[in-house]
């Protein structure tokens, strides 16, 4: 088929953001009545691509054909006019209004009031989307809210419906219902672009799949004909390096998490379900997983920014500390490096000297009689910069003026130089240059060598393979069993990241 035979065809689509090419000459097409999966890890370029389709971004290069005609989608409104609908991961509904009122606000139709309510009913009947137009949105479940969004799109009779990770907020039962709806839509000729990293659902739902990695199309395939394992490999790549050494002496359990659960506060949070793991002295424990599977929530509970329900869920050196806050955990020997550097790990509009006060209080005697001890702080921040090779134009400059890599080295140095017994680092080298990355990896390995228990939460598998002794995978708020890196293959880890349950025959670690 040529470009004209497809509903939507994109050729050579390129979109760059400062520092990263999000879409690199992507060719992509979707035909009417097809459910087409867009598969890839976080950062692979899926969102950018659909945002170009939906008119949020305009591509730097490339052409988009809609029903054979070259088009330039100037805005989401334009996209809707053309017949493209999109259901976002996060809903945009007003809680205090009814379903009908919410739809009335967004749909540019002349129908109002009862007439619209009738139309909503007829659409929901046609597609099996049970929905009462007069219900208040706040009383709806997450799945029902998603239905409102879908109905809102369907009222515009779209030719293409884009679903951005729709099942990430749904229960398995709700997901099944959604699949039925999508199949019915496809039967009636509507094309569905389905974005996901969940392999199983793509295999059972989609007719075709385009797999993206690092902004490029890796391959196209028919997911029903390809095994989950193959899909996983295609998504992750085979570039996993074998671990250099993993025969290492580890000591006593230093950090232990027992049956940690937490229900989500709102639909944007992930519930954590019964998470348990132990980390020994001199050991590096990795938590892999696609972003948004509960890592952020877990990080908050490990560092003490969010308290657990029971004291015993978290313990450091056999001292239970699930109910005590950040300062108390630091006093027990914990240090943490959050995922977000600016604004979480450091305050951008404060100097490096001021920033050491955020965590270095006790170890470096930074306050006396409730007053801040600036000369000690200066010595400490100078020491961090010297030992961790932080390139800066003076310790008095704002932290935000440092480059990402230097800032992370500073942050890492600030925590490591407190000689913690337990170090928890989230995405420690996310988006920084290779040199800084190597330095940070080395400093974490040194820390473990000196007897600390180190937890690394990361989406970067290469990083985890290089650093860790054992790895668990997080999926939908649950943590898998842990595997020693020597026993791991890209296949296994990809399957776990995609939510597949695998029977493990090999040496699941039980070193403890």
């Amino acid at each position: 088929m040529s470009a004209t035979d497809y509903l939507l065809s994109m050729q050579g689509i390129t979109k760059a953001f400062p520092g990263v090419v999000a879409n690199d000459s992507i060719d992509f097409e979707i035909a009417e009545g097809n459910i087409h999966a867009l598969l890839g890890e976080n950062g692979a370029g899926k969102s950018t691509l659909v945002k170009i389709i939906y008119g949020y971004y305009s591509a730097d290069a490339g052409t988009m054909y809609w029903q054979g005609e070259p088009v330039k989608v100037s805005s989401p409104a334009h996209a809707r006019q053309m017949g493209i609908g999109m259901v976002f991961q996060h809903f945009s509904l007003f809680d205090a209004m009814t379903v009908r009122e919410n739809i009335e606000l967004a749909v540019t139709s002349r129908k109002k009031g009862l007439e619209l309510a009738d139309e909503i009913r007829s659409v929901s009947d046609t597609y099996g989307l049970e929905l009462d137009p007069d219900r208040d949105v706040f009383s709806l479940s997450v799945g029902e809210r998603q239905r409102v969004e879908i109905v809102r799109c369907l009222l515009q009779s779209p030719k293409l419906l884009i679903m951005d990770e729709p099942t990430s907020v749904l229960t398995p039962q709700e997901a099944d219902k959604l699949f039925a709806v999508l199949r019915r839509l496809a039967d009636q000729g509507c094309a569905v672009l389905y974005i996901s990293h969940k392999l199983e659902e793509i295999r059972i739902l989609c007719h075709q799949a385009t797999i993206l990695r690092q902004g490029k199309v890796v391959t196209r395939c028919d997911p029903t004909q390809v095994g989950t394992q193959e899909l996983a490999e295609m998504m992750i790549g085979k570039s996993l390096k074998p671990p250099t050494s993993n025969a290492k002496e580890t000591g006593e359990v230093v950090f232990s998490v027992r049956s940690l659960s937490r229900s989500a506060e709102n639909e944007r949070n992930i519930s954590l379900k019964d998470i348990s793991f132990d980390v020994c002295a001199s050991e590096v424990f990795g938590i892999a997983g696609v972003a948004g599977n509960g890592q952020t929530e877990l990080m908050g509970m490990l560092s003490g920014e969010v308290l657990a329900d029971q004291e015993s869920t978290v313990s450091i050196n056999n001292v239970d500390c699930g109910r005590v806050g950040v300062q108390a955990r630091r006093n027990l020997g914990m240090a943490s490096v959050p995922e977000e550097r600016l604004g979480h790990g450091v305050v951008g509009n404060m100097s490096l000297t001021e920033n050491v006060f955020l965590s270095g209080h006790k170890k470096y005697d930074l306050s006396r009689n409730l007053l801040m001890h600036f000369s000690n702080a200066r010595t400490y921040s100078q020491k961090i910069c010297d030992e961790f090779d932080v390139r800066h134009s003076g310790i008095h400059v704002d932290a935000s003026s440092l480059s990402g890599g230097n800032l992370q080295k500073f942050l890492m140095g600030r925590e490591i130089l407190q000689y913690p017994a337990v170090m928890i680092a989230s995405q420690p080298t996310w988006g920084i240059d290779a040199g800084s990355q190597a330095a940070i990896h080395q400093s974490l390995l040194n820390l473990a060598e000196n007897g600390a228990a180190v937890v690394v939460i990361s989406q970067d598998l290469d990083e985890l393979m290089a650093l860790c002794d054992r790895i668990s995978v997080m999926f939908a708020g649950q943590l898998s069993e842990s595997y020693s890196v020597s026993s791991l293959t890209a296949q296994t880890i990809g399957l776990l990241m995609g939510g597949a349950r695998i029977e493990v025959s090999q040496d699941v670690e039980n070193a403890n």
Binding site: S58, S303, G304, E305, G325, V326, Q327, R330, S336, P338, E340, L342, G343, H344, G345, V346, V347, G348, N349, M350, E354, F357, L358, S359, S367, L370, L371, M372, F374, D398, S400, S401
Partner: protein, 362 residues
């Protein structure tokens, strides 16, 4: 030629201190337009408004008397504003501070005890804190918006004062005027410069501003407040309890407003009246922002706002203009300040229409 605002990489420190001056200049320009529209010669009017009031020692002393409560309240508010806690109700806290502090001379009008005045000041602080504790409680326990609660409590406070001076606290020998007894000497803030009304409260205000400056820049608590305002996530990271901080900054601001209130009634006024403040609690919000939430900046800004009060009185007396002109100037000042503050984080770029068109099709 279209103007584009381009985000700066980091906020401009120069602009942080330049925009208050820009706001001042723009207010003067807009003010002269207002004067000429009203049919008054703009330059003479501006002179009468801004320079005539402070052309002699007495004028300067009056300026300082008015600046003192403004500075004191504004430094208190600035702590909260830095932490993103928006106490808009300093006027109410001032009023209740004055009421509570005045209870002593009203119930013990004969007492000449040397501790009378210090005790009144302490009660004034406690009264202001008590009033501020209501929004603090509602915010931390019920998640209520402190902007609304603190603001609405202003009107409650003013009615409390009014009820008292019209009723139980009315001076029996006062010909039925709604005023309390005139405080005895022991209950009055002593003057410090003969020939003027300058009183000891101005020294207290100066000390308060300086100590808040030290507290803010050097203490751990001040650091935590700054962190909370600049980066709430970092505040959680470092283990700051947000609710506790809400209490600190609201009680701090309330206490200082209460202190300013009791100094007003025990100083220039000398008794409780239905109206004890020309809106110091509200003007202090402008002072806090004009002074860049920095104690020293606030010191200067309080003089500017005090001048607007004096100038308003002057043009009323000399030129028959309504007193509301002071409010107009204060409003313009805040308006222009907030508007020009955009330059702190953005710089202006002038583009010819050709390059602009190209940017639009990117």
């Amino acid at each position: 030629m279209p103007i584009r605002l381009v985000a700066r990489q980091t906020h401009s420190r120069l602009m942080t201190w330049l925009t208050p001056i820009m706001a001042l200049v723009l207010s003067l320009i807009a003010g002269s337009i207002v004067f000429s529209l009203l049919g008054y010669p703009p330059l003479t009017s501006l002179y009468t408004f801004f320079l005539a009031p402070i052309s002699d020692l007495y004028g300067v002393s009056e300026l300082i008397i008015k600046a003192a409560p403004l500075a004191m309240i504004a430094v208190g508010l600035s702590m909260g504003f830095r932490a993103n806690v928006w106490n808009i109700g300093a006027e109410g806290q001032l009023t209740i501070g004055a009421v509570v502090g005045s209870a002593l001379p009203i119930y013990f009008p004969e007492s000449g005890n040397a501790l009378m005045l210090p005790a009144m000041l302490v009660l004034g602080v406690l009264g202001g804190m008590a009033w501020a504790s209501i929004p603090a409680f509602l915010k931390t326990k019920m998640n209520t918006n402190e902007i609304l609660t603190s603001l609405l409590l202003v009107y409650v406070a003013v009615l409390v004062l009014s009820t008292l001076v019209h009723g139980p606290w009315r001076d029996p020998g006062g010909f039925n005027f709604p005023e309390s007894v005139v405080f005895q000497d022991a209950a009055l803030v002593p003057g410090i410069l003969s020939g003027t009304r300058l009183h000891g409260g101005t020294i207290i205000a100066l000390l308060v501003v300086l100590s808040v400056w030290i507290l803010f820049s050097r203490s751990v608590a001040g650091f935590q407040v700054r962190v909370a305002g600049l980066a709430p996530s970092a505040a959680r990271y470092t283990g700051i309890h947000f609710n506790r901080m809400v209490w600190y900054v609201l009680l701090g601001a309330g206490g200082l407003a209460g202190l300013a209130g009791i100094i007003e009634v025990a100083g220039p006024i000398g008794q409780l009246q239905p109206i004890i403040s020309p809106g110091y609690g509200f003007s202090a919000i402008i002072v806090a922002f004009l002074g860049r939430l920095h104690p020293i900046g606030i010191l200067f800004a309080s003089l500017v706002l005090a001048l607007s009060y004096l100038g308003g009185e002057f043009v009323q007396i000399k030129m028959g203009l309504p007193l509301g002109i002071a409010g107009v100037f204060q409003g313009m000042l805040l308006f222009f300040l907030l508007a020009s503050d955009v330059l702190i984080n953005y710089r202006v770029e002038w583009r010819t229409s050709r390059t602009f068109g190209r940017a639009g099709t990117e």
